[in-house]
């Protein structure tokens, strides 16, 4: 026992347990939902059972008794399913999901070094009630005894927690509190847990598995890097000693540098690849979200997931979770209609929401499609006029696309009734802001009565982006290359004035024209022959005149410092070879600035 205690207080052991348990829990919901579809899938059942069993075992060893109580009860239920004593109905699934949620919360508590004492009676009783009669009675007796034990052990755990927090280096007391599970569940009627709460706990991934192949590649490249360093040192020595000079030295140095930059590029790529994880890490929570939400909305929804194996940067995966949840919830709430309505419209009663990820060049595209209501541009337009976002005159000259874009403005919501799922007017703008902060974009396309498609575009990684360096009125700016559609020459006389906003005609196309120098308060450029960069933000295009192209570069994005988080039109900064700071233009922000100005709302933010 004493040895056990010693081991149980070993923080690395606890950390390992938390990692292992969290990894296991990620798949539990998914597996459980597949089980609901196919109640006799023994393989699935075995896997769930094993995960719960492992958690129970290790938790018991480490002395997390509450965790043992819940996982033990869940294990019993799973075991009876395995033995075929009962069949996994939706009540089983609901209750087990609730139990897994509780386990997840407890594991999180452990990870944060906080021991919270929960009232688990109701949950355990609910689980026990699922057991068939005979074992149920037995279980009841057992549970009474166990409850008593658990109470004693909980008190011990509390004492241990206090001891632990006193010891903990930070000196901050770990919160020890009593939370009542009963209270929580009574606040939320019906079985399914509120979908938002499950998902809101976006756990930051602090540990990740990296494919050994990727690591080997890294180590190889580092070896190569060391070789190249030696080569340069050798060249330097020869040069200093006078053995190598003139064009021989120049050639050798040129070779060595070329080789070095090749290795550096490869190394950059390889190290970024270690950070890539499959988007499945986010996608796999959606079957649960959709199930619970469809349940509470009284709708029938089938979720189709494609391209879950698409890889992108770990931070991206973490940060697109919230916007995605929002869009999926919107699709269910506003998109998919009630079964009766669908049938009346000649659609199958069950709606389909598709979540798809794919790589397109150096971009990841995530598409959320529903086959529901669709969005009515007329209603959006009317609302926009009502809210004073646009004049009725101006609205008439706007494309459907531009009108749809209003839904991404802050405070814009067309939902007539407010519920706890969506329609509070916070949301779409937050989605766009989140995406912008990731250098991505979100666009919408919709056909009334047929459904809507939201397309998210994301760069593969946040850390390094290629930029096009341009000079505008003596200042150098960097344009993210992924937004640069093309560069052309144009004449100043091709500029036209339409409804007070400038447009540029290039061949058959007419593009909104942005005078960056005006937006940025620089002297006007008057060259007759203009160099024009066409930037694409989703489907939208914007033309930008620059004085000079300076070339392309790979840059590391830095923030402008925490004080200057939001500068309109600026995405961040980068440091150039000569040590100067260069500003990176934010194409989406630019578009916003131009549109606002067209709407007569442009003000310099002070």
């Amino acid at each position: 026992m004493t040895m056990n205690d010693e081991l149980a207080n070993d923080p690395t052991l606890i950390q390992e347990f938390v990692n292992e348990a969290q990894e296991g829990l990620q798949h539990l919901d998914e597996d459980l939902l597949s089980l609901e579809q196919a109640p006799d899938a023994m393989e699935m059942l075995d896997r769930i059972f094993r995960t719960v069993h492992t958690i129970k075992g290790t938790a018991g060893f480490l002395g997390f008794d509450q965790l043992v109580a819940v996982s033990h009860a869940a294990e019993d239920v799973l075991n009876s399913l395995r033995k075929g004593e009962s069949v996994a109905g939706s009540e089983h699934i609901d209750t087990l999901l609730a139990a897994f949620d509780r386990i997840r919360v407890m594991i999180n508590d452990i990870a944060h070094n906080a021991i919270v004492v929960y009232d688990l009676d109701e949950l355990v009783v609910r689980l026990r009630s699922l057991l068939p009669e005979t074992s149920g009675a037995e279980g009841g007796a057992q549970s009474a005894q166990e409850m008593l034990d658990a109470a004693v052990r909980a008190a011990n755990a509390r004492a241990a927690a206090e001891a632990l927090s006193a010891e903990s280096a930070s000196g901050e007391a770990a919160p020890v509190e009593t939370a009542s599970a009963t209270e929580e569940s009574s606040a939320v009627p019906a079985g399914p847990a509120p979908a938002g709460r499950v998902v809101a706990a976006t756990e930051r991934i602090t540990n990740m598995r990296v494919d050994v192949v990727k690591l080997d590649e890294l180590v190889n490249l580092v070896g190569e890097l060391v070789l190249q360093r030696n080569r340069l040192a050798e060249l330097n020595r020869q040069h200093v000693e006078g053995r190598l000079h003139g064009s021989d030295f120049d050639d050798a140095l040129g070779d060595a540098i070329a080789r070095l930059s090749f290795v550096a590029d490869e190394l950059q790529g390889a190290s970024l690849r270690t950070r890539m994880i499959p988007i499945d890490n986010v996608f796999r929570r959606f079957p649960r979200v959709v199930r619970d939400l469809a349940h509470s909305l009284g709708k029938q929804v089938k979720l189709v997931i494609r391209g879950a194996e698409t890889e992108l940067d770990k931070t991206m995966v973490e940060q697109i979770a919230d916007p995605l949840v929002h869009l999926v919830r919107n699709a269910l709430d506003h998109g998919v209609e009630l079964p009766a309505v669908r049938e009346a419209r000649g659609k199958p009663a069950e709606g389909t929401v598709t979540l798809e990820a794919l790589q397109k060049g150096d971009h990841i595209v995530v598409v959320i499609t529903d086959d529901g209501n669709g969005i009515d541009p007329e209603r959006i337009g009317k609302k926009a006029v009502e809210k004073g976002l646009v004049t009725a005159d101006r609205l008439r000259s706007m494309s459907t696309h531009e009108i749809m874009d209003f839904i991404f403005l802050p405070g814009f919501s067309t939902a007539e009734k407010v519920n706890n799922v969506s329609g509070r007017g916070v949301g779409m703008d937050v989605v766009r802001t989140n995406l912008k902060s990731l250098n991505g974009s979100v666009t919408v396309e919709s056909h009334l009565g047929l459904g809507s498609t939201f397309t998210l575009q994301l760069p593969l990684t946040l850390a390094v982006i290629p930029v096009l360096l341009v000079r505008i009125s003596q200042e150098t700016y960097a344009l993210p290359l992924h937004s640069v559609v093309e560069t052309v020459h144009a004449l100043r006389r091709d500029l036209h004035d339409v409804d007070g906003s400038e447009v540029l005609r290039i061949g058959q196309r007419v593009l909104p024209f942005c005078r960056l120098e005006r937006l940025f308060g620089l002297p006007d450029s008057t060259n007759d022959l203009m160099r024009v960069v066409i930037l694409g933000i989703g489907e939208q295009r914007i033309a930008l005149a620059v004085d000079q192209f300076l070339g392309q570069e790979q840059t590391v994005i830095k923030s402008l410092g925490s004080c200057l988080r939001r500068v309109p039109g600026i995405a961040g900064a980068t440091i150039s070879g000569d040590g100067r700071v260069r500003l990176i233009v934010d194409p989406a922000g630019l578009l916003g600035l131009v549109q606002n100005r067209h709407l007569g709302k442009f003000e310099v933010a002070v």
Binding site: L560, G561, C563, L564, I570, I575, V581, A605
Partner: protein
């Protein structure tokens, strides 16, 4: 970032205790125009010469730009502009005082930095109304022989601006 932030903090504790015992404040003194100002030394991270500034558009003019501080981009504020004084071109005495205020690192451009002073804490008087410099930003007036030192209240300075909403840096 973390280690850098931790050390000054633990230092701060040590020095504050020391100053509590001795009753002395350590102040970095600098000049803007004819006036002499002071900043508590613990707020000051370093003092550097003026380097190439990159102007950032659409910000109030007292934000003179951003600089590269060893690979980190920090905003630089012209105290002259902030105080509404005439702009003056930089010369060999112009310095940037790099400070950390509520987790954010930023620089202040001053005409010149004079010295580090120790002044008895009990000689600091509450701020009177002085010229154009807003009283809000002055924590107190230190007296040293016949010199008057306006002690800046940086936290006030920062929170009063809507543009510089300093939130704790995200590691």
């Amino acid at each position: 970032m973390n280690t850098a932030a931790n050390t000054p903090q633990s230092m701060q504790r040590v020095v504050l205790e020391a100053s509590a015992q001795t009753g002395l404040l350590q102040i970095v003194s600098f000049r803007i125009g004819a006036e002499e100002f002071g900043l508590e030394i613990l707020k000051v991270q370093e003092i550097i010469r003026v380097q190439d500034l990159t102007r950032v558009p659409n910000l109030p003019d007292f934000v003179e730009g951003v600089i590269n501080l060893r690979g980190k981009v920090i905003p630089v504020i012209g105290l002259r502009r902030w105080f509404g004084l005439d702009q003056q071109s930089y010369d060999k005495n112009t310095r940037i005082i790099v400070v950390e205020v509520s987790g954010s690192v930023l620089g202040f451009i001053v005409d010149s930095v004079s010295e580090v002073l120790r002044i008895p804490a009990d000689t600091v008087e509450p701020p009177p109304r002085i010229g154009k410099v807003e009283r809000d930003y002055i924590a107190g007036v230190g007296r040293l022989d016949d010199r008057l030192l306006l002690l800046l209240n940086l936290d006030r300075l920062m929170t009063s601006s809507e543009v510089l909403q300093c939130e704790p840096a995200e590691a």
